[in-house]
């Protein structure tokens, strides 16, 4: 069987990176879904840049309380030990290096780990939100995205052509086809989706992929 991973499955793979006790901030889109797949036995504290730490799973739309939301405007579950703070304190936490992992969406990632995720130039206007601060402040930046654009073009590129979010910030890319590490100024293919060959992945990746000696199928 050969099928691109769906958004939930990408989120599941991302969530495997969350270590016990980690503080994690999730961007809009696929990243947010990762809060539903914390590996068993691990405690993960989710931080949201609108000013919350330690909330639980996303609440269905009809049951939500508008005073308990994440930065994607999803309703979230209050948990014991949850705390709140204002935006200046929230970004002090983010810029100050207290976030272990941030998972962001991506429009383009370069082979050096440059990230572009806030503006398609043809739209003429975009929203930065907390992405630039998270990309610069978090200890580890993971990008979760589809491997290619809607028209099939590469999103993992030699140089980003869209407006940057931050330079040399991305450490891991999780897509619907592959898991790729940014290391030593280049990209290393660590895992492939079931049924996809190295050649098939390389064909839709503008940058040249090094192949990990331990290359394997994505495990969830």
């Amino acid at each position: 069987m050969k099928e691109r991973l769906d958004r939930e499955t990408i989120a599941m793979r991302v969530a495997r990176e969350f270590q016990d006790g980690f503080v994690v901030n999730l961007g809009i889109g696929i990243p947010t879904l990762a809060s539903n797949y914390i590996p068993e036995g691990r405690t993960v504290l989710f931080q949201t840049e609108n000013g919350g730490l330690g909330f639980g799973p996303i609440v269905p739309e009809e049951e939500g309380d508008p005073d308990f939301v994440n930065a994607s405007a999803d309703y979230v579950t209050p948990l014991p030990g949850m705390s709140f703070f204002h935006s200046a304190d929230s970004f002090a936490m983010i810029r100050g290096g207290h976030i272990d992992i941030t998972v962001l969406g991506g429009l383009q990632v370069s082979q050096k780990g440059d990230l572009a995720n806030w503006m398609l130039p043809e739209r003429g206007i975009g929203s930065i939100g907390g992405a630039m601060d998270l990309a610069v402040g978090a200890k580890r930046v993971i990008v979760a995205m589809e491997h290619t654009t809607k028209s099939g073009g590469p999103k993992i590129v030699k140089e980003c052509t869209y407006p940057l979010t931050a330079k040399e910030c991305v450490k891991l890319i999780v897509t619907d086809m592959a898991v790729i590490e940014v290391a030593g100024g280049g990209l290393v293919l660590l895992e492939h989706a079931p049924g996809f060959s190295v050649e098939e992945i390389q064909a839709v990746t503008e940058s040249t992929l090094k192949i990990s000696p331990t290359l394997k199928e994505i495990e969830l």
Binding site: V69, F84, H86, I125, G126
Partner: protein
């Protein structure tokens, strides 16, 4: 005299906003925490050529009708009413291109200016404005469009941008409870920019669910000390979130 900052109506609280004023708005956007009634009152009041400083000009509820009792009223209603000259914002328009946005349309028509600012830099610039800080160096935005025209300085081997403080003539704040002296509490994630903008304006106007006497709020719960607050208006028991 005992201090009492309570105003009788939203209209009275925003009556003196002149054309050309700068207004900070503390709500994050999309859900709770937006000073909806103050924004609606400002639309009625009609001041023009405003500069809005805040996270957003309107997020994914942008397209809904303004139905009191149902939805958040975000600053896009001022955009629609052609009251905005300029926005200083972090998330001016919805992330999804498929969601209509009054600000996006006005921007494309050239009717409004936009200074886009990373969210953490926006919060820090407002805090700096409140705190008498002349400017600060942040690593956020280095190597991006945000760095254009700004001083870059290498400190301990890392590049930083010089960012300048922001203040405003007015701040519109959504809080949960106020005492008559202006001490404020908030609920949950509805704090967002509210306690930050509350400290950085010449006139801070707050809408709250409940107004109580001094001493009826536990001092340890107070997030915004009353010294920062100038006008307080009670929200109706139900209404816009």
């Amino acid at each position: 005299m005992a201090i009492n900052k309570v105003y009788p109506s939203f209209a009275a609280a925003v009556a003196d906003v002149p054309d050309g004023a700068s207004i900070m708005i503390g709500g994050f956007g999309g859900r709770g925490g937006m000073a909806s009634y103050l924004i609606a009152a400002l639309r009625e009041q009609g001041a023009k050529d405003l500069t809005i400083i805040g996270n957003t000009l309107g997020l994914d509820r942008d397209y809904k009708l303004i139905t009191p009792g149902e939805i958040t009223t975000e600053p896009f209603i001022l955009v629609e009413n052609k009251q905005i000259k300029k926005a200083i914002a972090s998330f001016p328009v919805p992330a999804s291109p498929s969601i209509p946005s009054a600000f996006k349309l006005a921007y494309r028509r050239g009717e409004v200016e936009l200074e886009i600012v990373p969210q953490g830099t926006l919060a820090e610039r407002i805090r700096a404005g409140a705190a008498g800080i002349g400017g600060f160096y942040t690593p956020t935005g280095v190597g991006t469009v945000v760095a254009e025209g700004k001083e870059v300085r290498v400190i301990n081997g890392r590049e930083y941008l010089l960012e300048m403080p922001l203040r405003a003539d007015y701040a519109f704040v959504r809080a949960y409870k106020a005492d008559t002296m202006g001490n404020l509490t908030y609920i949950g994630t509805s704090r967002a920019f509210n306690p930050v903008v509350a400290t950085a304006a010449d006139v801070t106007i707050v809408e709250v669910n409940e107004i109580v006497e001094p001493g009826q709020i536990d001092s340890e719960l107070i997030v915004t000390p009353g010294v920062y607050v100038h006008r307080i208006v009670q929200r109706p028991p139900e209404g816009r979130r």
